[in-house]
């Protein structure tokens, strides 16, 4: 779930975006999205810095991305990146996945977010749609412990196999904890 404070910044942009060609493009894309997958599928439609951002539920994410990939009009057939995120304060929506899609032909980008509880971090995989999703999902699993149903090889990718936590979750410290040569913790660190 996006931050509540975000509304201010988006409101400021709205006026500027009215004349913007990207805003018009985004409006078209949004209309198509609504037509294809139903208006109720998407919540929280925003356009921070000209990039259409929609939030949906994890039940729909596979269908939406598959539909976008196959759609001949939108041609969103490039998965730019995906990453996990952790908001420990948002109850039952602690974890999230953020997908960046790109329609190379129309040169439009789309950001899709899903949020789900920490206790049930299960998300459908995209490996059947995009080969590139394989490692990105492994990375998200490694960092956040998000489990991708149907992933062919969901193992840790960057960290050592026997690591027992998911380090990018916000509760875990960054530091190694073993260093000896750095003792000062003053000056606002």
């Amino acid at each position: 779930m996006a931050d509540p404070t975000k509304e201010e910044s988006t409101a400021a942009q709205e006026t500027a975006a009215a004349q913007d060609p990207t805003a018009q493009q985004n409006a078209q894309v949004l209309a198509l999205l609504h037509r294809l997958f139903g208006e109720s599928t998407f919540t929280d439609v925003e356009e921070p810095y000209g990039l259409l951002t929609v939030t949906t539920k994890r039940e729909h994410i596979h269908n939406i991305i598959a539909g976008l990939q196959q759609d001949t009009e939108l041609k969103f057939h490039f998965l730019t990146t995906m990453c996990g995120i952790n908001y420990p304060e948002n109850l039952n929506q602690e974890l999230g996945m953020i997908y960046h899609l790109h329609s190379l032909v129309h040169n439009v980008r789309l950001r899709i977010k899903i949020f789900f509880p920490l206790a049930d971090p299960v998300v459908p995989t995209l490996t059947d749609l995009y080969a590139t999703a394989n490692w990105m999902e492994r990375e998200a699993y490694d960092f956040f412990g998000i489990i991708f149903m149907g992933h062919p090889n969901l193992r840790r990718i960057l960290n050592v196999e026997d690591m027992d936590y998911h380090p990018m979750r916000r509760q875990y410290p960054l530091e190694d904890g073993t260093r000896e040569d750095k003792t000062d913790l003053f000056f606002g660190r």
């Binding site: 931050d3 404070t5 975000k6 201010e8 910044s9 921070p48 810095y49 990039l51 951002t53 994890r58 039940e59 729909h60 596979h62 269908n63 057939h77 490039f78 998965l79 730019t80 990146t81 990453c83 995120i85 953020i98 960046h100 190379l104 040169n107 980008r109 950001r111 299960v122 998300v123 459908p124 995989t125 490996t127 059947d128 995009y130 080969a131 590139t132 394989n134 490692w135 990105m136 990375e139 960092f143 149903m149 149907g150 062919p152 840790r156 990718i157 960057l158 960290n159 050592v160 380090p167 990018m168 916000r170 960054l174 606002g188």
Partner: protein, 420 residues
């Protein structure tokens, strides 16, 4: 729809695809050399440059399957970035794709500028373009000459490395460091080009084409080299897109996707240059595309240098751009700004921004989520190497060990960017 239902058949598709490949590639039982050997390529194998491991199943010298393992220099960039103020992330980006640090630096600065809404003056933009294109040349030079080294021709590498050394000199003149440049600041450059830097740059622009021509004539039409690279490790455009290829590797497959043209940043729309594309995405195409990109980058640098506008080299943004030292001594306001910026207490708006630049290896994206604090709430790097290296295990199937090494070096996998 339930999650599990949505997923029905996912596995099947992948399995089918694998079987389809397997049917052709796995030798039949009556094949004499059925016995497969497992060869551990890396992590300290000389051809893996950076550090990653490939466990190859080999039938004699033919590769049946390759399983890559990465993460050997995982440094937790994204986690560190959550604990560092914006300006301290620049040194981190240096070390991501260390073959072309300035591009990473500039990409990061532009991301923050986009977040903060800072307008960078034209001169700074042109200066950035010059440095980014220099970095691109340096990156491609390394990649192509290392391809030469991996095919056994060491000398070409040393010839072009001299040019890289000169690029280092220019970097040093501009920012004070050779490799991990920490160049530029949010809002512009940290200092203007010195006359020496411009002179060195002009001199280099004059000398470099001859060396580049020599390098090309040593390799481009040499049959030994061509035999090693033509039709080795080809990848179709569809597959490349599916694997998320960007940059020279995608262009070698024939797709003219270039962030500089599609989403121009830092005044790239002012310059005239072509996007070289290859035909079938094999190693030779990747080599040629990189070589041609070097020429195109030279074109851009020449244009930018000739048209370098006058004016300030940084934005007039006292909230984000450090005041000059002299002002800090004399001016209370400047001193306050100085303290605030250094302590990281700049007023970053809440929001999220994705900005991508054309890095040495493709679309280098920065996805920054700011919650208004002094550090990013989350910073995700779209690292092109990480994304396209997963195609490697598919590309090497059916080739020989020598091919596998050539493919690897032509993909220009930079360990720092791969593992982040």
């Amino acid at each position: 729809m339930a999650v599990n239902d949505a997923l029905a058949g996912t596995h099947k598709i992948i399995q089918e695809a694998q079987e389809q490949q397997g049917g052709q590639l796995v030798p039949t039982l009556n094949d004499f050399s059925q016995e497969l050997t497992t060869l551990n390529l890396g992590p300290t194998h000389p051809a893996t440059h950076g550090i990653f491991q490939n466990i190859l199943q080999m039938d004699g010298e033919r590769i049946i399957s390759g399983v890559p393992t990465i993460g050997y220099i995982h440094r937790a960039f994204e986690k560190i970035a959550e604990r560092r103020p914006f300006y301290q992330i620049t040194p981190l980006t240096d070390r991501m794709n260390y073959c072309s640090s300035p591009i990473n630096n500039m990409g990061w600065h532009m991301t923050v500028e986009k977040l903060l809404g800072v307008q960078v003056p034209k001169r700074a933009q042109y200066m950035r373009v010059i440095m980014m294109e220099l970095a691109r040349i340096a990156d491609h030079l390394i990649c192509n000459s290392i391809l030469g080294v991996d095919t056994g021709a060491f000398t070409g590498f040393l010839y072009v490395f001299q040019e890289r050394e000169k690029i280092y000199e220019i970097y040093e003149e501009v920012c004070g460091s050779r490799l991990t440049t920490n160049m530029g600041r949010v809002g512009g450059m940290e200092r203007d080009f010195s006359p020496v830097a411009i002179e060195k740059l002009r001199k280099w622009l004059k000398e470099f084409p001859a060396v580049m021509k020599e390098f090309e004539s040593m390799f481009n039409r040499n049959r030994i080299f061509m035999d090693r690279v033509v039709n080795v490790g080809p990848i179709t455009a569809e597959k490349a897109l599916n694997y998320g290829f960007t940059g020279p590797n995608l262009r070698a497959a024939g797709v003219d996707y270039d962030v500089r043209v599609m989403n121009p940043y830092s005044s790239y729309e002012d310059f005239e240059f072509d996007i070289p594309v290859g035909t079938n995405g094999d190693t030779y195409d990747r080599f040629l595309v990189r070589n041609e990109e070097i020429w195109q980058s030279l074109r851009i640098i020449n244009q930018a240098l000739d048209r370098l506008p006058d004016g300030p080299f940084h934005a007039d943004a006292p909230h984000y751009y450090l005041p000059p030292k002299q002002a800090v001594y004399k001016n209370m306001e400047a001193l306050i700004y100085h303290f605030k910026i250094i302590m990281g207490e700049i007023e970053a708006p809440v929001g999220e921004v994705y900005h991508s630049v054309e890095g040495g290896n493709g679309e280098l994206g920065f996805y920054l989520i700011s919650d208004g604090g002094r550090t990013p709430y989350r910073l995700h790097f779209r690292r092109p190497c990480f994304i396209y290296y997963q195609a490697y295990s598919e590309m090497v199937v059916g080739t020989s060990l020598s091919d596998a090494i050539v493919i690897l070096s032509s993909m220009n996998v930079i360990a720092g960017e791969l593992d982040a």
